[in-house]
C-alpha cells in the first residue's frame, strides 16, 4: 500500500459503520447498566448497616482485582456449562462489562458523594429539608459535578474497552476493520483509520465535558 486510496476507504464504510453501531450499542448499554449497578453499589457501600456495606465493598474489590477479559471468558465458556446452553459472545461480553464497570462507577460515585462537606448536609437538614430533599437538591448536584471528570474518563475507558469483544467473535468497529483489512490486504489503512476515529471521538467527548464543567463552574 503506497498511497491512501480515498475511493477504497469509502467503499469500506458501510461495513465499518455496522461495526461502529455495534460498538456504540455495547458502550451505551454497558454504560447504562454499569451506572445503575454502580449507583446501587455506592448506596450500599455508604450504608450504615455494616454487613451490607461490607458485602458491597467485597464485590467491588473482588471485581477490580480481576482482568475484564477473565469475566467475559467466565460468561462465555463457564456459564454455558452451568446453564446447559451457549450464552453467546454478545451477551457474555455485555454481562462482563456491566459487572466490571459497576465496580468502578461505584467507587467514582461514592467518592463524589463523600467529597461534599458534611456541613452541607447539616445546613440542608437544619433548614427544614428532609434527608431526601437534602440529597437531591444539595448533595447530589455537587457530587455529580465533582465526579464528572472521572465519570468521563471511565466512560471513555469503557468505549475503548468494548474492543475486547473481538475475542468472543462479536463484530464491533475494530473487528470490522480487521476483517476488511485482512480481506483486502489493507490493514495499514484500516488500522490508521480506526485509530483516527477512536481518537476523534474521545477528544470530542472530553472537550464537551470540559465545556460543560466550565459552564457550571463555581
Amino acid at each position: 500500500m503506497t498511497h491512501f486510496d480515498l475511493a477504497y476507504v469509502v467503499s469500506t464504510l458501510p461495513l465499518l459503520w455496522d461495526g461502529m453501531q455495534t460498538t456504540a450499542l455495547l458502550t451505551v448499554i454497558s454504560l447504562a447498566g454499569g451506572l445503575a449497578l454502580g449507583m446501587m453499589l455506592a448506596v450500599l457501600r455508604l450504608s450504615r448497616l455494616r454487613l451490607v456495606a461490607l458485602a458491597a465493598a467485597t464485590y467491588v474489590n473482588l471485581i477490580r482485582a480481576l482482568p475484564l477479559l477473565l469475566l467475559i471468558f467466565w460468561f462465555y465458556f463457564l456459564v454455558p456449562l452451568l446453564v446447559g446452553r451457549p450464552v453467546g459472545g454478545y451477551t457474555a461480553a455485555l454481562i462482563g462489562f456491566v459487572l466490571f464497570e459497576g465496580a468502578y462507577f461505584c467507587e467514582i460515585i461514592r467518592s463524589g458523594i463523600q467529597s461534599v462537606r458534611r456541613g452541607q448536609i447539616m445546613a440542608g437538614l437544619a433548614s427544614g429539608l428532609t434527608y431526601g430533599q437534602t440529597m437531591r437538591s444539595i448533595v447530589l448536584p455537587q457530587a455529580l459535578r465533582n465526579m464528572l471528570p472521572m465519570l468521563l474518563t471511565e466512560s471513555i475507558n469503557l468505549f475503548k474497552g468494548t474492543a475486547l469483544v473481538y475475542v468472543v467473535g462479536v463484530r464491533d468497529f475494530l473487528t470490522a476493520a480487521s476483517v476488511t483489512g485482512t480481506r483486502d490486504n489493507t490493514l495499514v489503512e484500516m488500522y490508521i483509520l480506526v485509530a483516527l476515529v477512536y481518537f476523534l471521538l474521545c477528544l470530542a467527548a472530553s472537550l464537551s465535558v470540559s465545556r460543560l464543567q466550565r459552564r457550571y463552574a463555581v
Binding site: 437544619a126 433548614s127 427544614g128 437538591s137 463555581v218
Partner: protein, 242 residues
C-alpha cells in the same frame, strides 16, 4: 420557649454532654461560651435534633425534640441555624440559597420566596448580590447571606454556632451588627461565641460550659462582674486579655 432538661450525650465512649439544663424564654438572647471541645456545638445541634440525645429532654415551643412522633424537618423549619463555616450551597446563587427551603419545605411559590429573599437581603445589606455565587463573596458577606437564609423560614428562634470565628477581623463587625439588629427586633437567640463585647452588649444571659457541663448560667452582668466558678474566671481572664 426552649428548655433543656438534664441532657446527656456521648459519641461512642466519649461523654460530650453531662446533665445539662437551661431554658431560653421568648425574646431572650443567650450567649454560650467555654473552651474548645466543651460541647457548645453539640448542645445547639441537639436543640434542633441534628444530634440525638442519650438522656434528658429538650422541648422547643411545646414540642419534645427527642420524641419519636416529632416531625424533625417540620421542627427544624421553625428554628434558624447559622454555622461557623457559613455552609452556603456553592452551586446556587444567593437568591437560590435563600429560597430553596421556603419553596421545598414551606411550599411557598417561587415569586413569594424571591420577594421575601429580597426584603431579607436588604435587611442584611446584601441586596446588590442576589445573583452572585457564594464563591464570589467575602466571608462576612457569606455569613450575612446565611443569616438571611435562616430568617427566610420565619423562625421562632435562631441558633448561631461561632458565626464570626472563621472571619477576618475586619469582617466580624458587619456580622455582629446584623445579629445585634436581630436581637433588638426581639428574636429569640442562642449564640455560641467568644465575642465578649457582643455578649456584654446584647446578651441577657451567659451560659458557660466546660467539659460537657453547664458550669455557669447567669445574667450577663453577673457573669462578667462576679463569675461564680474559678473556671469561668480563668476563661474570662484569658479571653479578655487578648
Amino acid at each position: 420557649m426552649i428548655t433543656v432538661e438534664n441532657v446527656s450525650k456521648s459519641y461512642g465512649a466519649t461523654r460530650v454532654l453531662t446533665d445539662c439544663s437551661t431554658a431560653v424564654a421568648r425574646g431572650e438572647i443567650v450567649v454560650v461560651c467555654g473552651p474548645s471541645g466543651s460541647g457548645k456545638s453539640t448542645l445547639i445541634k441537639c436543640i434542633n435534633g441534628l444530634e440525638p440525645i442519650d438522656a434528658g429532654r429538650i422541648v422547643v415551643d411545646g414540642t419534645s425534640v427527642a420524641d419519636r412522633e416529632t416531625n424533625l424537618p417540620k421542627l427544624r423549619a421553625r428554628i434558624g441555624m447559622v454555622f461557623q463555616t457559613f455552609e452556603l450551597y456553592p452551586h446556587m446563587t444567593v437568591t437560590e440559597n435563600i429560597t430553596l427551603a421556603p419553596i421545598k419545605a414551606l411550599k411557598r411559590t417561587r415569586a413569594e420566596a424571591v420577594k421575601r429573599a429580597n426584603t431579607l437581603l436588604e435587611r442584611v445589606g446584601m441586596h446588590d448580590y442576589a445573583d452572585r455565587y457564594p464563591a464570589n463573596l467575602s466571608g462576612g458577606q457569606q455569613q450575612r447571606v446565611a443569616i438571611a437564609r435562616a430568617l427566610a423560614m420565619d423562625p421562632i428562634a435562631m441558633l448561631f454556632d461561632e458565626p464570626t470565628s472563621a472571619l477576618d477581623p475586619e469582617m466580624i463587625n458587619e456580622v455582629l451588627d446584623v445579629m445585634t439588629a436581630l436581637a433588638q427586633d426581639g428574636m429569640t437567640m442562642i449564640v455560641v461565641t467568644h465575642e465578649m463585647g457582643f455578649a456584654r452588649r446584647v446578651a441577657d444571659r451567659v451560659v458557660f460550659m466546660d467539659q460537657g457541663r453547664i458550669v455557669e448560667d447567669s445574667p450577663t452582668q453577673n457573669f462578667f462582674e462576679q463569675p461564680a466558678s474559678d473556671r469561668a474566671r480563668l476563661f474570662l481572664s484569658k479571653i479578655l486579655h487578648h
